[in-house]
């Protein structure tokens, strides 16, 4: 059985009376035990909101307006109060983009670990100061930091170190799912690579499931087993990471891929994606990407495509699904 299974997840922001923004629309997803999945899309596509919904971290004005989120068999979408707290403690953790802002500037790093471990102590846990210290030192070692960091304050650490502390804190309750929300976006390339390497190693060593949320498809493909591409609140493509760089994909995915290049190449050209994503406060008809898409046909403007087979994965595109279907038929005739 899958670790996490979500069906028909919808998230709506209602910032003011009568105003509604459909940020996540009818998302189905499954995360297997030990699987590392990427969630990619532009700012405002709903990827962080979806990550927050799955970990039940949504705050007003956002709320889960529908859907089932089954974590290890339990529907966490309907949990509240103490039962939700317990489900979180035993199940999942979230690592945020800015390690700086996630840490308390007037507390030492050791204090942060104490907070997490004491607040979530299970009955029968004996947590002396000494034990917390040792446990925290182990966790820091796992993220390649010296135990000396424990007595430091957040401002004494570099951006990369702070992000490593955030990761160690997320590990402290041995979660089975960790959602990383843009964990390296605020870091420079070299530090980003080192932090991503640590995340990959930890995931493989410890075998937790993970979701990596990022706008950077390149970073995601280097780390994950599978990637889901999100556009305007929906998942538009779901493929194994290894096939992403080749073959036919959703036109949005292809446009994202065109934003990359090799700085060493003889000729370097970079594509962007013209236009802007749709306004999510207006219900749309047809495919949300149609106004920016080079392949748009009549059907795209009238029918919102569901996820259709685009082997080996899925894509929500009429045109691509038809092309793939024709190819399959030709193949079977041969």
């Amino acid at each position: 059985m899958a670790l996490l299974e979500a069906r028909g997840v919808n998230v709506v922001y209602s910032p003011a009376r009568g105003q509604r923004i459909w940020s996540v629309r009818d998302v189905d997803l499954t995360i297997a035990h030990g699987e590392f999945v990427g969630l990619v899309g532009e700012s405002g596509c709903g990827k962080s909101t979806l990550g927050f919904a799955l970990t039940r971290m949504l705050r007003p004005p956002a709320h889960l307006s529908g859907g089932v989120i089954r974590f290890d068999g339990t529907d966490v979408a309907s949990l509240t109060g103490e039962r939700l707290r317990r489900a979180r403690r035993d199940g999942f953790a979230l690592v945020l983009q800015s390690g700086m802002n996630a840490l308390n500037p007037v507390r030492t790093i050791a204090h942060h670990f104490g907070d997490v471990l004491l607040a979530n102590a299970r009955p029968g846990d004996e947590l002396s100061g000494d034990r917390i210290w040792r446990r925290a030192a182990e966790l820091l070692e796992a993220v390649r930091l010296e135990p000396a960091v424990l007595s430091r304050y957040p401002h004494e650490l570099s951006g990369g170190m702070r992000q490593r502390v955030s990761i160690a804190l997320a590990l402290s309750l041995q979660p089975r799912l960790i959602v990383f929300d843009e964990p390296t976006t605020a870091l420079d390339v070299i530090v980003q690579q080192a932090v991503m390497d640590t995340i990959k190693d930890l995931q493989r060593e410890r075998g937790f499931s993970a979701i990596l949320i990022s706008h950077d498809l390149g970073v995601v493909l280097e780390a994950t087993d599978r990637v889901m591409v999100m556009y305007a609140g929906r998942i538009v493509e779901d493929q194994p990471s290894r096939v992403m760089a080749h073959g036919l994909h959703h036109p949005y995915t292809e446009a994202l891929l065109n934003c990359y290049g090799d700085p060493r190449a003889e000729v370097v050209q970079l594509g962007g994606i013209p236009g802007t994503p749709p306004d999510l406060s207006v219900p749309n008809t047809g495919c949300s990407f149609a106004p920016r898409c080079p392949l748009t046909e009549d059907i795209c403007r009238t029918q919102d495509p569901p996820l259709l087979s685009l082997a080996p994965g899925w894509a929500a595109c009429h045109v691509r699904a038809r092309a793939a279907h024709v190819e399959e038929e030709v193949g079977s005739v041969r």
Binding site: I190, E205, Y260
Partner: protein, 300 residues
């Protein structure tokens, strides 16, 4: 303006030493004996990771920090010796575009107000004159229809649009040199190409020079002719951008090149990296990304 009217920027033997407060007399050399020039109309890249001194150099070039030693000249002006009036003159000709398009705009000012201020402040225009140029400036940076954008507040714009407003503001004083400090690093990958193309085009059509500061070698390759790679305040490699990136000789440059995220190289680099990795035995991860769920689970 033709390129010949644009003065050259010359940085010669510039160092910057910061004194660290606290016990003892510690010093940090942020920039260490750096020399280079930006010829009229040229685009030069300063490349390096955090702490390499590239932003400190930018601050010295725009006069907001003074070099500890060495000299920076822009045309026949010596930047390090300028005071209030002279700095104002300098800022008419040298404008900056900053990294954070959220932090660099006043949230209470409309786009129109933001973009017309340099005309009034630096070119002595009347309110009406400055206002009259707003549409043209917004169109130059691709914010069309201009009238619609002019009335907006920063929070109503996307990151890419905000960055374009910053560029329009920088153009507002008719500068000769634009110093762009990581102008695209906070933008979505999909928006970067648009802003980079805009900078390249402005350089061509207006003949202005560009000093482009970044840690992203791909963007440096796209808009600069020449780069300097900085590591801990020192220039470790320099030359024609394409030449340096295709045939890097310094270890640090190679490290920066390897850190560039490239989906097309993802599988290859994954293999390379795991070959070098400490624990070669866990090799089941290579070449088969989807094999993850079935490998190496121990703790729960």
């Amino acid at each position: 303006m033709s390129a010949s009217d644009v003065p050259a920027l010359t940085v010669s033997g510039v160092s910057k030493v910061f004194h660290v407060r606290g016990r003892g007399r510690r010093t940090v050399t942020a920039v260490d004996d750096v020399s280079f020039a930006v010829a009229p109309g040229a685009a030069v890249g300063l490349v390096g990771a955090s702490g390499s001194g590239k932003s400190t150099l930018a601050k010295m070039i725009t006069g907001s920090e003074r070099p500890t030693s060495g000299e920076i000249t822009f045309g026949d002006t010596s930047v390090g010796k300028l005071h209030a009036g002279g700095l104002r003159q300098l800022h008419r000709r040298v404008q900056m575009v900053f990294q954070d398009p959220y932090g660099a705009l006043n949230p209470l000012h409309t786009v129109e107000y933001t973009v017309m201020r340099p005309g009034q402040n630096f070119l002595g225009m009347s309110h009406a004159q400055a206002r009259g140029r707003v549409a043209e400036l917004l169109e130059t940076v691709g914010l069309v229809p201009a009238a619609q954008y002019a009335a907006k507040l920063p929070h109503q714009l996307s990151g890419g649009q905000r960055q374009r407003v910053l560029i329009a503001r920088a153009l507002g004083s008719d500068p000769d040199l634009i110093v762009a400090d990581e102008p695209v690093s906070m933008l979505d990958v999909s928006l970067r190409a648009g802003v980079l193309k805009l900078l390249a085009e402005l350089r061509r059509t207006r003949g202005l020079s560009l000093l482009y500061i970044t840690h992203d070698l791909l963007s440096a390759r796209l808009i600069t002719d020449e780069i300097l790679v900085l590591n801990q305040g020192r220039v470790v490699e320099r030359g024609q951008t394409k030449q340096v990136l295709q045939h890097p000789t310094d270890k640090y440059t190679i490290q920066l090149l390897n850190a560039v995220a490239n989906p097309f190289a993802a599988n290859g680099s994954e293999q390379n990296r795991s070959e070098q990795s400490r624990k070669g035995a866990g090799g089941s991860i290579t070449g088969n990304g989807a094999g993850g769920p079935t490998t190496g689970r121990s703790t729960t």
